[in-house]
């Protein structure tokens, strides 16, 4: 579907479409992964908390998908009725542009917390910059999302501290999870071609600019959590932003999209 859309719309609109889809997919896949904890959380309040975070993220993805649909419908004569649902449920893995870290399995509670921490810290600094985008709708979505992401970052930071500065078991598990997730954090600061294209008109964020903010935030929280970990210059996994994914995304989409694929066009 994405190829069809890209073939029909202008190059500039393509970059904007791809960028918006990248942001939509990252929030959707992260939200979907977190929803896997619903009903399985270690304590009722935390089950509810993580479900609420998932809901916020899916809501954000809706805003981005709706905008991507608008971009498509207004930029080509052939396609006039793409909806947010088509984009979320009818694209395949190679068309998804989410960050790799969002599709990784949840693992234990600590690993999920770290995923949320790394991702929401990125979102926090990212949205602060996206508010100044010359694209009004992206700026509006950023303004709205930043309020919610601020809560996500605070909640996950507190949990990182609780687990890092907790028991011997929690510290051991958290350190193991950091080792596993760290190679996936670099991708969040490597701009894809469509981002570079849009930065010329100040639509996209210069994500390399927010890297230091992110690193400092992580260092501060790790220090308070008595976690002694920091690795620089290691090889980072990339590809998600261009549709090259881990084996996990296929399983996620198979579950998430099953109903639409089995009963095309079905509605509530």
């Amino acid at each position: 579907m994405t190829q069809k859309i890209n073939n029909l719309i202008s190059t500039k609109a393509q970059a904007l479409f791809n960028y918006t889809i990248h942001l939509a997919d990252s929030s959707l896949i992260m939200g979907h992964r977190l929803s896997e904890w619903t009903g399985y959380g270690p304590m009722l309040e935390q089950d509810i908390a993580i479900s609420n975070i998932a809901l916020d993220l899916i809501g954000q993805s809706r805003n981005f998908y709706q905008y991507a649909a608008t971009i498509t419908n207004s930029n080509t004569e052939e396609v006039k009725n793409i909806t947010e649902d088509d984009l979320a449920y009818l694209r395949d893995t190679r068309e998804f542009k989410n960050h790799l870290i969002t599709e990784l399995p949840n693992g234990d509670w600590g690993k999920t917390i770290l995923k949320i921490f790394f991702f929401s810290a990125w979102q926090f600094y990212f949205y602060q910059k996206l508010i100044y985008s010359s694209d009004k709708q992206l700026s509006a979505i950023a303004e709205k999302s930043l309020k919610e992401v601020t809560y996500h970052l605070r909640w996950s930071s507190e949990w990182v501290i609780r687990l890092g500065d907790g028991t011997e078991e929690s510290k051991k598990r958290i350190l193991l999870s950091i080792e596993e997730l760290w190679p996936f954090t670099g991708e969040m600061f490597e701009p894809a071609d469509y981002e570079k294209e849009l930065s010329k008109e100040h639509i996209s964020v210069f994500i390399s600019d927010i890297k230091n903010d992110w690193i400092n935030k992580v260092k501060n929280v790790f220090t308070e959590a008595t976690i002694d970990f920091f690795k620089e210059g290691i090889w980072m996994q990339t590809g998600g932003k261009n549709g090259v994914h881990t084996e996990h995304l296929g399983y996620i989409l198979a579950e998430m999209q099953f109903l639409q694929r089995a009963y095309p066009g079905c509605e509530w």
């Binding site: 509810i48 609420n52 809901l55 916020d56 809501g59 700026s139 303004e143």
Partner: protein, 173 residues
């Protein structure tokens, strides 16, 4: 009738229609918190009447709030049942919705319903732990935060240390 007179009549009818629509919207409530109307919540940004066509512009509260779709539908149904035929509901994301837009009467209604209304102004940026929230049941200020996340995206969970009852708090946003 000459053009000026016709314009005056049109403006009169438009004003009457506008007032009617606001009155109808007063009765459209939040499905999750049925004491609050969409006007109390501050989500109605604008109403545009153009040649008999009505456009209601709303601003969603939280990004993922599932009540917003239901609210849009209820607005449409209410207007249809009052005889309006051409209705468009559009969303405006910016400026972002804030609890600062909630009316004072809305906050009072929340309290009598048993939900503590937002305490500070959103720009205070004071996080939940530092706020003093009054128990909506016994009015004590000796309350504590149980969780930043409550039964819905907009609420946090508190408990009263005096009357020992748990209660929801509508978060500043």
């Amino acid at each position: 009738m000459n053009e000026t007179d016709q314009n005056m009549v049109n403006t009169f009818f438009e004003k009457e229609t506008m007032k009617r629509i606001w009155d109808i919207l007063e009765k459209v409530t939040d499905p999750e918190i049925p004491v609050l109307s969409v006007i109390d919540l501050g989500i109605i940004r604008d109403i545009i009447i153009n040649d008999g066509k009505i456009e209601v512009i709303i601003t969603p509260t939280y990004s993922g709030c599932p009540a917003m779709d239901v609210i849009s539908m209820n607005i449409r149904m209410s207007l249809i049942s009052e005889g309006f035929t051409s209705i468009k509901i559009s969303q405006q994301l910016s400026p972002a919705w804030t609890t600062d837009w909630m009316t004072e009467s809305g906050k009072e209604k929340l309290k009598s319903y048993g939900i503590a209304p937002p305490v500070a102004k959103s720009f205070d940026k004071d996080f939940l732990e530092k706020l003093v929230v009054e128990c909506p049941l016994c009015h004590s200020t000796n309350t504590s935060l149980i969780s930043q996340f409550g039964s819905t995206a907009c609420k946090a969970l508190y408990k009263c240390n005096d009357c020992r009852e748990p209660f929801d708090y509508f978060k500043c946003h």
